[in-house]
């Protein structure tokens, strides 16, 4: 998956624990853990906006496109 989730980096920058973020954005810790590890099919705009609001960041700070072997760059 060429989309990398940098949520753990943002959490570290804001010195916030996963549990607190999960509580504040209203999802389970388990789902937050899946999101952090990139093991989800997608993120709802609603969830993304709540994370950005709590962590005071932009979606681009959380998500990054890194071309990998699964998705080679166009020639």
């Amino acid at each position: 998956m060429p989309i990398v989730v940098n949520l753990d980096v943002m959490l570290a920058r804001r010195k916030m624990r996963s549990r607190e973020l999960a509580e504040r954005i209203g999802i389970t810790e388990q789902n937050l853990s899946l999101l952090k590890s990139g093991k989800v099919r997608g993120v709802r705009f609603d969830t993304l906006s709540r994370i950005c609001e709590v962590l005071e960041c932009q979606p681009g700070d959380l998500l990054e496109f890194r071309p990998g072997p699964d998705d080679p760059p166009e020639a």
Binding site: I27, T28, Q30, N31, L32, L34, L35, V40, R41, G42, V43, R44, T47
Partner: protein
């Protein structure tokens, strides 16, 4: 699939329906076993009820007819019990809040097909029962009664609708599973 996705809290109205359907399943299963046993063991019951059920007036109720009739009823009874078992398990899934699970879909589909089988089997079993009950009659008075009632037609129609709903549910399950991948 995230483990948090299932189960979901059951709406109160569905909770009541689960209880009612489960009670009806138990009642139906007991009736399916007890009624044919009582019916085929009682020549009086056969004599009074067979004319309206099977459509024969002159019959010879001997041990052979009773055993044959009882054996013939085994097939619809077995299929009926299977259908009720699938319905019970379907509502167990609903009770656990797994409305759009693959297991619920499989039970719904099996119930629908069992219902269709029961509906199609009913006229055939009635015809075979008419033969069993008149087998002891003198030659020329033995009968094969073939008939398809409004109830048979409605049962086939209902089963077909349920099969269609199960097919639609398969798409609903796919969408629900896809949705569970989103946080």
């Amino acid at each position: 699939m995230p483990p948090s996705a299932y189960p979901r809290p059951l709406p109160a109205s569905l909770g009541r329906i689960v209880l009612i359907v489960r009670a009806l399943c138990v009642l139906g299963a007991l009736s399916l076993i007890a009624v044919p046993l009582w019916f085929w063991a009682s020549p009086e019951a056969i004599e009074s009820l067979a004319p309206s059920m099977v459509g024969v007036k002159e019959m010879s109720i001997d041990a052979r007819a009773q055993w044959l009739g009882g054996a013939l009823s085994l097939l619809p009874v077995s299929l009926g019990l299977y259908a009720l078992w699938q319905l019970w398990r379907l509502f167990t899934e609903y009770a656990a809040g797994r409305v759009f699970g693959r297991a619920a879909l499989a039970h719904l589909r099996r119930f629908a097909w069992a219902l269709l089988g029961t509906a199609l089997l009913a006229p055939l079993v009635r015809a075979a029962t008419s033969v069993a009950l008149t087998l002891g009659n003198p030659p020329g008075r033995r009968m094969l009664v073939v008939g398809f009632s409004w109830n048979d037609y409605m049962a086939v129609l209902l089963a077909a609708v349920l099969i269609a709903i199960a097919t639609v549910m398969a798409e609903a399950v796919r969408v629900a599973e896809e949705n569970e991948g989103f946080v």
